[in-house]
């Protein structure tokens, strides 16, 4: 078995035999021509045929992938009409007295080079179009037919694929494709996304793979050749899950998240960075229930500036267009270490200087983040929540700092919106005093991962403790119920943003407890929504 890491341009799993796709290598030879007028006429006839082919491809693509995917062929037709391109070919034929094939190849290379040298990624990617249109004309000149088919549904492995090749493939027999070249901005990538086929680029392909079994993991970007039976089995299961998820998606899309008894549940998505947004939107998230702000700190070599943070928060708020976006303030320490914070090594980091404790001991870092959050709140519906709370005092201190930041913004005349403030309930202490904490904040979000670890006194990283670890431990479930009850008594809402929130084995019980919000990984939204919509019992 071989595993090769590439770059995914479309997610999904493909399993099937590999076809190593080689273009019929048209070695264009330079040959001397006496009758240049005849050669030009031959070129003009080839252009007419190439235009006809493109017209047919346009029609085929229009039916299979729609207008936006088909446009490329219309553009290719326009490119072949270009005066500069045609003049260049004719000029080479006349002045160098060479064959049309050579003149076209040279012209194509020249134009491709011009585009490849441009700064903008979009224009650079047009170099492929230049080669593609030129190859088409050369094939016509040389009398070479178009791509031929194959029998069994397969994974296509190739050096590079031109858009015209991608669309010519029989879709029912194309499982996915893997190429050495290509960019995520190329038309081929766009077509792969429109056709919903897993595709990887930047893989060092080998001809010897032809006929072997292959697996494309479009999520991790890995390509498996000759997979071990266990790996194959694992991916077959994953693929089945993926298909099941797609089926759910089709059924659940656009439906409200309401129980049979009529309670509307906020079904939100957890995201770890701006790049997770498309997944959240694509899966119909009602909002962002947990926006982990750590990525800004982890990806950076120094403290991220207020503006950097502002841009990221604003982008998410604007994209969600009025839907709630709950930003969790900095939660580093424990298993998430950042060098420039210069934190001491700790014996027991899970119980050490982390999250809100860092923010309260180093308020300047905290204030920068709060300013960025407040500024972004002018552009959408932003809420903020604070992690690792254990006391009412902490919450009051945070609110004081928040009030200071607001006063500074007011003084500077900077706009901000209404920002709800909530806390994460992830320590047993916060559960026990949740009645008191509820008086101080607008909402609770229960972080079940840490809450379980602290309640059961089991280290999540220690695999040897697996036999003692019960994620559905009654102690944790009763704690959740207590938190929800105390929230409701104080007139605020309570949700769950930890892994348990996505545990469909518990959704019914959460509904019975009166949980108001569940924030889950985007891919869990539809499965959870389905159960909520079928829930018939009482809610609180």
């Amino acid at each position: 078995m071989q595993v090769i890491q590439g770059k995914s341009i479309f997610g999904g799993i493909a399993i099937g035999p590999i076809i190593f796709f080689t273009k019929e290598q048209n070695q264009v030879k330079r040959s001397k021509i006496e009758d240049t007028a005849g050669e030009i006429a031959r070129y003009e006839a080839a252009i007419v045929t190439a235009q006809e082919q493109l017209g047919k491809l346009y029609e085929k693509a229009l039916k299979e992938v729609g207008e936006s995917g088909a446009q490329i062929f219309e553009v290719h037709q326009m490119m072949l009409e270009d005066d500069d391109y045609n003049d260049s070919v004719k000029n080479i034929i006349e002045t160098q007295m060479v064959n049309a094939e050579y003149a076209v190849a040279t012209t194509g290379d020249n134009f491709a080079e011009i585009f490849a040298a441009m700064e903008d990624e979009y224009f650079q990617a047009r170099a492929v179009d230049m080669k593609d249109i030129s190859e088409r004309v050369i094939n016509v000149l040389m009398g070479v037919g178009e791509v031929s088919g194959w029998e069994e549904p397969s994974i296509i492995v190739a050096e590079d694929l031109a858009p015209s090749e991608t669309v010519q493939f029989d879709k029912s027999k194309l499982l996915g494709f893997v190429t050495r070249l290509g960019s995520s901005n190329s038309h081929t990538a766009i077509l792969a996304r429109t056709m919903n086929i897993p595709a990887l680029i930047q893989i060092d392909i080998k001809e010897e793979w032809n006929g072997k079994m292959g697996i494309i993991d479009g999520f991790s970007g890995e390509f498996y050749i000759d997979p071990e039976p266990e790996v194959l089995e694992k991916y077959q299961e994953k693929k089945a899950e993926q298909e099941e998820h797609r089926r759910l998606l089709a059924e659940q899309k656009g439906k409200p998240t309401v129980t049979k008894s009529g309670k509307e549940i906020k079904l939100f998505a957890n995201i770890g960075s701006v790049s997770d947004l498309p997944a959240a939107m694509g899966n119909d998230a009602g909002g962002i229930g947990l926006f982990r702000s750590e990525f800004l700190y982890l990806e950076s070599g120094d403290y991220p500036t207020e503006d950097d943070q502002f841009k990221a928060y604003k982008m998410v708020a604007e994209t969600m267009a009025g839907k709630k976006v709950i930003i969790r303030t900095l939660d580093i320490g424990a298993d998430k270490q950042v060098d420039y914070f210069n934190l001491d090594k700790e014996e027991n980091p899970a119980m050490g200087l982390r999250a809100i404790r860092i923010c309260l001991t180093r308020p300047e870092i905290f204030k920068t983040q709060l300013r960025a959050i407040l500024r972004a709140s002018a552009f959408g519906n932003i809420a903020v929540m604070y992690p690792m709370i254990i006391s009412v005092d902490e919450v009051r201190k945070i609110k004081e700092i928040m009030a200071e930041v607001k006063a500074e913004l007011d003084a500077a005349g900077i706009q901000y919106g209404e920002v709800e403030q909530g806390i994460m309930i992830e320590t047993p202490a916060s559960v026990i005093i949740s009645d008191l904490l509820a008086q101080e904040v607008d909402f609770f979000s229960i972080g079940t991962n840490d809450l379980t670890q602290y309640t059961l006194a089991i280290d999540r990283q220690n695999a040897k403790l697996d036999e003692f670890y019960n994620p559905h431990h009654e102690a944790v479930l009763r704690m959740i119920e207590m938190v929800v009850d105390n929230a409701h008594k104080a007139g605020i809402w309570a949700g769950i943003c930890g892994e348990l929130g996505a545990d469909t084995g518990l959704t019914d019980r959460f509904m019975a407890m009166g949980v108001d919000e569940l924030s889950v990984s985007p891919t869990f939204i539809y499965p959870v929504r389905q159960i909520i919509r079928e829930y018939e019992g009482p809610t609180k």
């Binding site: 446009q71 219309e74 326009m78 490119m79 270009d82 005066d83 500069d84 011009i114 903008d120 224009f123």
Partner: protein
């Protein structure tokens, strides 16, 4: 001669498809239409040359029309830019 300025609002800039449509329309008018942007200029009827200017979103293009009916052609071109770019 007539001219107007237009700031590109299309996300990808003056990309292949609108450049192609522009070339078609420019040819049909029979007038000489020149684009100036970013210190470069190109004949609007030439797709590759127009794309080669690398015009991106937010850039201002100056469009010059020479020939008979320059004013009418310029108005037509301005409508094209507003609708497609």
């Amino acid at each position: 001669m007539a001219k107007f300025n237009y700031v590109i609002t299309d996300e990808v800039g003056l990309h292949a498809r609108p450049a192609g449509l522009l070339a078609k329309q420019a040819k049909a008018t029979g007038a000489k239409i020149t684009l100036n942007c970013n210190g470069k200029s190109a004949d609007a009827s030439k797709l590759m040359a127009v794309m080669g200017m690398g015009v991106k979103k937010g850039m201002e293009v100056e469009v010059t029309v020479e020939g008979d009916n320059a004013d009418a052609v310029a108005a037509e071109m301005e409508t094209f830019f507003k609708e497609n770019l």
